[in-house]
């Protein structure tokens, strides 16, 4: 029912653009992560590819969904990714604070992966309390940058480019930004009005693309 209401409100948009939080989390679980199994099993053939073989205490890369399931069953330990290390996170936080305009490169699904690991495998994440705090700080800093960027939209904008934005941050602004762009565009098209200011152009980018500056000519 929610999907039907969405379709009515946003006609013409492909359903794939309206990912919910749970769907975003679901997609994040395809990310590969290293585990240390405590069982032995030959390799298994999944749709996504071949995983394993599993040897006790031998690191092996598996999708996150499998890692979490095995961890819940007590069949493995998870090796937290490097970017989740407290020192790296603190360096990331410092960089976010220093650079007022651009986002620091982080994995696209960093928020979901961190959340799931801290929920299911907290003991496998070193200094998990500090990690939570630093992640919250990073999230706040990035969200401020997003807000100040959105505020800079003044008129007809064809697209917005957000380099290194993460999936959850994109979820938070996706519908709102699309509606905003559509609204400004439809207003400016009423009389073929072209504002005298420099026409802003930036694209909604996939954060896995190259790390370039924001391309809007106004500061964002």
């Amino acid at each position: 029912r929610e999907r039907e209401r969405e379709r009515e409100r946003l006609p013409g948009l492909a359903m794939s653009q309206l990912l919910s939080i749970k769907e975003t989390e679901f997609v994040a679980q395809d990310q590969l992560i290293t585990i240390l199994p405590n069982f032995r099993m030959p390799e298994i053939s999944l749709v996504a590819g071949i995983i394993g073989p599993f040897e006790p205490q031998q690191p092996v890369q598996v999708p996150l969904w499998l890692a979490l399931q095995l961890r819940k069953e007590g069949k493995c330990g998870i090796i937290a990714p490097d970017w989740l290390d407290i020192d790296n996170l603190q360096a990331t936080e410092a960089q976010e604070r220093q650079d007022e305009k651009n986002f620091t490169p982080l994995p696209y699904h960093y928020a979901e992966i961190a959340s799931m690991l801290l929920k299911t495998a907290q003991s496998d994440v070193k200094d998990s309390r500090k990690v939570r705090t630093v992640l919250a700080n990073i999230s706040d800093l990035r969200s401020c940058k997003i807000k100040s960027g959105l505020k800079s939209i003044k008129g007809k904008v064809d697209f917005i480019k957000l380099n290194n934005i993460s999936a959850m941050e994109l979820y938070g602004i996706r519908k709102f930004s699309i509606k905003t762009l559509n609204t400004f565009k439809s207003l400016s098209q009423a009389t073929g009005y072209e504002p005298s200011q420099i026409s802003q152009s930036a694209s909604f980018g996939n954060s896995t693309q190259s790390q370039s500056q924001f391309s809007q000519e106004d500061d964002f």
Partner: protein, 160 residues
């Protein structure tokens, strides 16, 4: 033109001023049968007041469908200054919406919330709902409001 609203079937005199629906005004104007007047809520006086402080203007009282009608009417008149007013006004109020979106339901923002046109309210609700869902996800409470209210209703029975 025969003005059919009157039961007497009197003809409408030339140069009379009447109010008609926008769809009819559009059609008659296309056929060059009438001259249109800009409504008060989009006139020059209003434009000056609005652009002086867009955030303070109470658009809901003036016209809840301010932007939608403004767009149609500016198209009818081919008036690009009206379009410019709509864009500048929306841009200023839109910034305010972003600033206040996180705490939208609190009482301190009720005065501004009560001044919003329907299009702005729609934008606000979109932003607020997304932020609320994100907040719930961050705090680990992803239960839907329906589940929560079901749980609340079940609790008195359980406590017995």
């Amino acid at each position: 033109v025969t003005w059919t609203e009157n039961s007497s079937g009197e003809n409408l005199k030339a140069e009379s001023r009447v109010q008609v629906s926008l769809w009819l005004a559009d059609t008659l104007s296309t056929r060059e049968m009438v001259e249109l007047e800009i409504p008060d809520f989009l006139g020059k006086q209003f434009e000056q007041n609005f652009l002086a402080d867009p955030v303070a203007m109470n658009l809901r009282d003036r016209c809840p469908l301010f932007y939608e009608l403004g767009r149609r009417i500016s198209g009818l008149f081919g008036d690009s200054s009206m379009t410019s007013m709509l864009l500048k006004g929306l841009a200023a109020r839109y910034k305010e919406i972003i600033v206040r979106s996180t705490v939208w339901r609190s009482n301190t923002h009720a005065p501004f919330a009560s001044k919003l046109a329907s299009l702005e309210e729609h934008l606000v609700n979109t932003k607020y709902n997304a932020e609320r869902k994100l907040y719930k996800w961050t705090t680990g409470d992803l239960r839907s409001s329906r589940e929560l209210s079901r749980k609340r209703k079940a609790q008195p029975a359980n406590s017995l």
